[in-house]
Point group: C3
Chain length 137, copies 3
Amino acid sequence: MAQDQGKLSFIMFSGTADKFIPLGVVSQAASAMGMQVNVFVTGFALRGFTKQAQALPFPAEFASMAPAVAQGMERAHVASWDKMLRDAKELGAKIYACSMMSSVMGLKKQDFNDLVDDVVGAATFLEQAEGGQTLFI
Amino acid sequence: MAQDQGKLSFIMFSGTADKFIPLGVVSQAASAMGMQVNVFVTGFALRGFTKQAQALPFPAEFASMAPAVAQGMERAHVASWDKMLRDAKELGAKIYACSMMSSVMGLKKQDFNDLVDDVVGAATFLEQAEGGQTLFI
Amino acid sequence: MAQDQGKLSFIMFSGTADKFIPLGVVSQAASAMGMQVNVFVTGFALRGFTKQAQALPFPAEFASMAPAVAQGMERAHVASWDKMLRDAKELGAKIYACSMMSSVMGLKKQDFNDLVDDVVGAATFLEQAEGGQTLFI
């Protein structure tokens, strides 16, 4: 696999609960395929990575579907998004929190859980993402 | 056109009505330019591709603008998103439904309309998308 | 830096206030790194680029956090998104308004402020974006 085809990066910005599912699924699938996966967590999505658990809201337009989706996830035996991210990390994926938005939201490195490898700036992330594909979620 | 520059893939996740417009416009434009277009439909966006039509909600923040946008689309003679996707398909675009989220939402292959070419997993899609650009909508 | 690694494009579609922050931060950081940055503004995001200022709504799910985010931005001395975009433009970034959606929303070239370099179609933008990475925001 050529280096410039084997890298997938994510800018994880959205903080609604639904968006964490594709983050988990795609990062796990890409890691299992041997791709180098980097996740840059910023904006409201930072709330999904703190030690003190914070409720992630369902998107306003689909709030009435939340119970059906939760039941469907269980029925289809889909792992939780953080379990999928942990699997991706065991295969080499790296997760970084955005230093600027952490500061804006009053979050320090010790406030994040063990999913987060480091707190870095946007320039550092862009360097790592260079030459691959990047998804903005 | 080099192969690694001529491929555009979409992970179509969002299920609000507005996001289907850029899916249609960009997939049609890219197909017309000779790019290889792949669309991976997942999450709430699957509701836009079922035989039994489901109402796609407008984003909560812009609900009051829905009539103006609809009138503007008509006035500017913009085709509907599914018409644009059909044009893209005639030019070679492929549309796949995500097997995992289909299962979560209780949708089977026969529940999808003829826009959907197949139901596949995330890994299959990532292989197809490799070496090009991918947009997460 | 190889040409195909040095280009970052944005399709800026979302019109909620929060999404303009990553547009500003990432376009500024990429421009400062010497990357060629192109922004294609479409959909509700066009409302952020008009001469007559229009209020950009906060996402419905996080509306209660708007004051805390505004205070955090000030406390962390984060520049406004349009200041960051102006910095990016001074480093060479280009910003284009989507001709089709401008027409749908009744906006003409003279309605946009000086951040916008030109009004172009999706095909023109895709040509410019080719060979780099593109983020859909």
